[in-house]
């Protein structure tokens, strides 16, 4: 009875809990690095920092504002690019760690028995 319960827990309940935690951590990494938001606002002004083009058309003022605003967008895009890359790498690492952990957990009984027997053999 207890053995049946254990097998059920080890191979069904516990992996379910691990997958849930895995999902939580992945969601967290997406939220922490705000990946969807960064993609959406990739070319937006950096910190909403922009210059007004003025009410009347003035070529000098217009070109000045245009180049500064373009700069603000480029700075924003560069910073966002690096954060997106870092966020993606982090998420990938989290994904791999969780996958390895899940595999280790499933194989744990065999591995523990092997480790115990191997220890006995060595002494």
């Amino acid at each position: 009875m207890i053995l049946k319960q254990y097998i059920c827990w080890h191979f069904i309940d516990a992996p379910k809990a691990i997958l849930k935690a895995w999902n939580n951590i992945l969601c967290f990494s997406f939220n922490y690095f705000s990946l969807p938001l960064l993609f959406k606002t990739f070319f937006s002004y950096w910190k909403r920092f922009y210059f007004s083009y003025g009410k009347r058309f003035d070529l000098k003022k217009y070109s000045e504002a245009f180049s500064l605003n373009l700069m603000s967008r480029i700075i924003g895009a560069i910073i966002r690019f690096f954060v997106i890359i870092f966020g993606l790498i982090f998420s990938l690492v989290v994904f791999l760690i969780c996958l390895i952990f899940l595999l280790i957990w499933i194989l744990m009984p065999i591995w523990l028995i092997y480790l115990f027997l191997y220890g006995i053999k060595l002494i």
Binding site: N24, F28, S34, L112, G119, I120, L122
Partner: protein, 816 residues
């Protein structure tokens, strides 16, 4: 009742619980494998250990590590699977009620030696270590408790089935998924004679015990695991703020509430108000909030909780990840030279707020900055503000109180139209208790004291009763703070310390009736008679009422006592009120005296209860000094609409003031005096009419003339007709008055001897039934006091002299 623990779902957990000793082996294997690993690692690096030996060490490491890990996994399996079987819906008619037991409860029942309530409680003491926390807080030593239980009560327990079925009922009432130890303990507190008795002894009610158990649950709740959604949410986000604009000027003159919230205490109560605030802010238009509530009703905690919810992404999408920033206008005023610069900076701040796109601006004490006052040192930003409030991107939470709303904001309808009002009612006593319990550790740590539960309970009860004008939770927190700071040296804070603080704050003797006060109450009639001659019935009625109020057995809804004194002038009506104020409230100054002849017009109502132009003469005084004697002198002269106002006060114990606030009169004594119909009394004395008939004649007179209506008279606890004073009474009064002069002269070292002929002479000169004792005061003043004053000024009277007063010409006769 079907109860079989051996066939229950939790039985296997109880069986396997015997193997908990294996946790010691787990620790042992942990030490072995750590040591083996260290030795192996060092040997491998330094090569000082032979290869053969290294293999053996690695072998021991492998065995101990595999055993440690196996035991750890089995422990997790036991905790998460075996101890928590399938949850069945609670049902009183179930096949086996034992199926509903939590593991802790089942363990307590399983280990009880006999199936009775007292053995169950003994098992709780032995098998539930957290119970120590509860009993320590209510100042009970668990060892002494156990000893007393075994000695006198172990065989006097109640029926086991009764305890279990009540536990199940409590669990259903509390919406628990299982019968928790908390439910079992509450059931024992109701049923077990021993536990019931000790809780009564330490003044802990059933509700208190439940509050304590709830608190225990909070203190020992499971720790959050880092991979759970809630814990991960708290880490916030790195890039969300990047989509918002810079707020350089705003940052200079503001406090970022979102940054501060990690230091806050848990949010309790005001959930409805928070929801309202969220709904208004989430709108596309008119999305500014005006929070209105009394100062101290924790209005700001709503804003703080909003900031926390927004930070954790728990609000609606439009409100998530916003910055809640409080504008510090005072530092802005201090940091700018003149109003022009101030206007410029404010414009800049508001523009930044709109441009940033993620700011919710908070302004505390909003009324101070928008009233159209032209007083030096005040500012009015309403015009600048109105031009920004038009924009839906500009979101604001303004915090104000009722006075500010009526006096300043209400007058500016254009400004008010931009806001939606959210009224904050003060927190309930239950919420205030939870808040105090949550802050307990903070105060204990800060002052290095231990605060017992009874002291906390006392704070809630006494602040509710004696400081009714202030809102919860602020008043309770402030009393806790003051008590802890004042008695930190005593190390343990007890209810008596709280009583002393309340007494200091209100100048009312509160707490347990002390010996001295008990004597005062028991001898109240004699004490009043020390100042008042005759009027036995009046004094008796008043004394009875006070004894009832102080011993807290009165169920009266209205004030502590309400009396109508009828009778001619100078018979002691006001003197009775004064002596009562002194004896009961500690000082004559605790008397709020209203000359009702000054309230003869309907328009005088505003003067009495307050209006936008002026504070209420009566309501403000009662709000500030709830423990007072209210004397309504010459009530018959007041306007009938004003008299009607008092109907509610006499009946319900409160009056609604000009600002719509309920002013509590429950701790006041109300005395109304009237000399209407005094001619009837004088005539009755002349004709020697029976006293009971006189009272009836006066009532008939009052009703016929329409001076008071019967329903008004009926609302008084007692209507007392004061008798005119006889010559004998006046003799006694003259002695009372002359004694005051004797006392004063004693302080100068002069002895004044009062003889009977002198008293008789004074009475002879002053006797007039229409004016009572009032004429006597004048005679004593003219004849005695003046003569003595002249003697003192001339230097005839010196220290050590003994002086008599001649009755024929009131000259002084001095014996040196």
């Amino acid at each position: 009742m079907n109860f079989n623990i051996e066939k229950s779902l939790i039985w296997s957990a109880l069986k396997w619980d015997k193997f908990t000793f294996l946790k010691h082996f787990k620790k042992l294997f942990l030490i072995i494998f750590s040591v083996c690993f260290l030795v192996f690692f060092l040997g491998f690096i330094t090569e000082i250990i032979s290869e053969e030996l290294l293999k053996k060490i690695f072998g021991y490491f492998s065995i101990s590590f595999s055993l440690f890990l196996s035991l750890k996994i089995l422990q997790i399996f036991f905790e998460t699977k075996i101890k928590q079987p399938i949850i069945l819906p609670l049902n009183e008619k179930a096949k086996n009620i034992a199926d509903f037991l939590s593991f802790e409860t089942a363990k307590i029942i399983f280990r009880a030696k006999k199936r009775t309530s007292s053995y169950l409680f003994l098992s709780v003491l032995d098998n539930f270590p957290n119970i120590r926390f509860i009993f320590l807080r209510i100042l009970l030593d668990i060892k002494v408790l156990r000893k007393n239980l075994i000695k006198d009560f172990l065989e006097k327990g109640e029926d086991f089935e009764k305890v279990i079925s009540r536990s199940l009922q409590i669990a259903i009432e509390n919406k628990h998924s299982k019968i928790e130890t908390q439910d079992l303990l509450l059931s024992l507190a109701e049923i077990d004679p021993f536990l019931r008795r000790i809780l009564i002894q330490v003044h802990v009610s059933k509700q208190d015990f439940q509050d304590l158990l709830e608190w225990l649950k909070g203190v020992y709740s499971e720790k959050e695991r880092f991979w759970e959604k809630e814990s991960l949410r708290k880490k916030g986000s790195l890039a969300k703020q990047w989509t918002a604009g810079y707020t350089i000027t705003l940052d200079k003159y503001s406090i970022d509430i979102t940054e501060k919230i990690k230091r806050f205490f848990p949010f309790i109560g005001h959930e409805k108000e928070l929801k309202e605030v969220e709904n208004i802010l989430a709108k596309t238009e008119n999305n500014n909030v005006l929070i209105v509530g009394e100062s101290g009703s924790s209005r700001k905690s709503i804003v703080e909780n909003l900031a926390e919810k927004s930070l954790l992404g728990k609000c609606s999408t439009v409100l998530n990840f916003k910055r809640v920033v409080e504008l510090d206008i005072n530092s802005l005023v201090a940091g700018t030279k003149d109003s022009e610069e101030l206007e410029f900076v404010l414009n800049k701040i508001f523009q930044e707020t709109i441009r940033a796109g993620n700011i919710i601006l908070v302004m505390n004490n909003f009324h101070n900055y928008v009233g159209q006052k032209s007083v030096l040192g005040t500012i009015d930003i309403s015009n600048i503000l109105c031009s920004y409030l038009n924009y839906s991107q500009f979101q604001m939470i303004a915090v104000t109180d009722y006075d500010g709303l009526h006096r300043d904001i209400g007058k500016n309808s254009a400004l008010l139209a931009f806001f939606e009002k959210v009224e904050v009612i003060p927190k309930s006593e239950e919420d205030a208790l939870k808040i105090l319990l949550n802050r307990l550790y903070f105060f204990e740590k800060k002052h290095k004291v231990f605060i017992c539960f009874q002291a906390i309970k006392q704070i809630i009860e006494m602040t509710s009763k004696y400081l009714p004008a202030l809102p919860f939770p602020e008043k309770a927190i402030s009393v806790l703070d003051e008590t802890v700071s004042s008695y930190a040296k005593e190390k343990i804070i007890l209810p008596k310390h709280v009583s002393k603080i309340i007494t200091r704050k209100t100048e009312i003797p509160v707490g347990d009736l002390e010996e001295k006060e008990k004597n005062i109450l028991l001898n109240l009639e004699e004490l009043i008679h020390q100042r008042l001659i005759n009027q036995e019935q009046a004094v008796k009625d008043i004394a009875t009422c006070l004894k009832r109020a102080r011993s807290e057995i009165s169920t009266n809804q209205g004030p502590m006592g309400t009396f109508l004194f009828l009778g001619p002038t100078g018979v002691g009506k006001t003197e009775t009120a004064k002596s009562l104020a002194e004896i009961y409230f500690g000082s004559e100054n605790k008397m709020i005296r209203l000359d009702m002849s000054e309230f003869q017009e309907t328009s005088d109502i505003a003067r009495l209860i307050g209006s936008e132009k002026e504070p209420g003469f009566l309501t403000t005084q009662v709000k500030e000094n709830p423990f007072s004697l209210v004397l309504l002198d010459e009530l018959e002269k007041a306007n009938s609409n004003i008299i009607n106002l008092f109907l509610q006060v006499l009946d319900e114990g409160y009056l609604t003031d000009g600002f719509g606030r309920k002013i509590n009169f429950k701790n006041t004594i109300i005395i109304a005096t009237s000399n209407a119909g005094y001619e009837i009394i004088l005539k009755a004395i002349e004709e020697k009419t029976e006293w009971e008939k006189v009272k009836k004649q006066i009532f008939d007179f009052l009703f016929q003339k329409g001076i008071f209506r019967p329903e008004f008279i009926n609302r008084f606890d007692s209507v007392i007709v004061f008798k005119p004073l006889t010559k004998e009474n006046l003799l006694d009064i003259s002695e009372l008055l002359l004694k005051k002069i004797v006392k004063k002269l004693e302080t100068k070292g002069i002895k004044l001897v009062i003889e009977k002929p002198l008293k008789e002479k004074i009475v002879e000169l002053s006797y007039n039934p229409t004016f009572g004792a009032r004429e006597m005061k004048r005679v004593i003043q003219d004849r005695i006091e003046n003569t003595l004053a002249s003697g003192l000024l001339r230097g005839d009277l010196k220290k050590g002299d003994k002086v008599f007063i001649k009755t024929d010409n009131f000259d002084l006769e001095i014996n040196q």
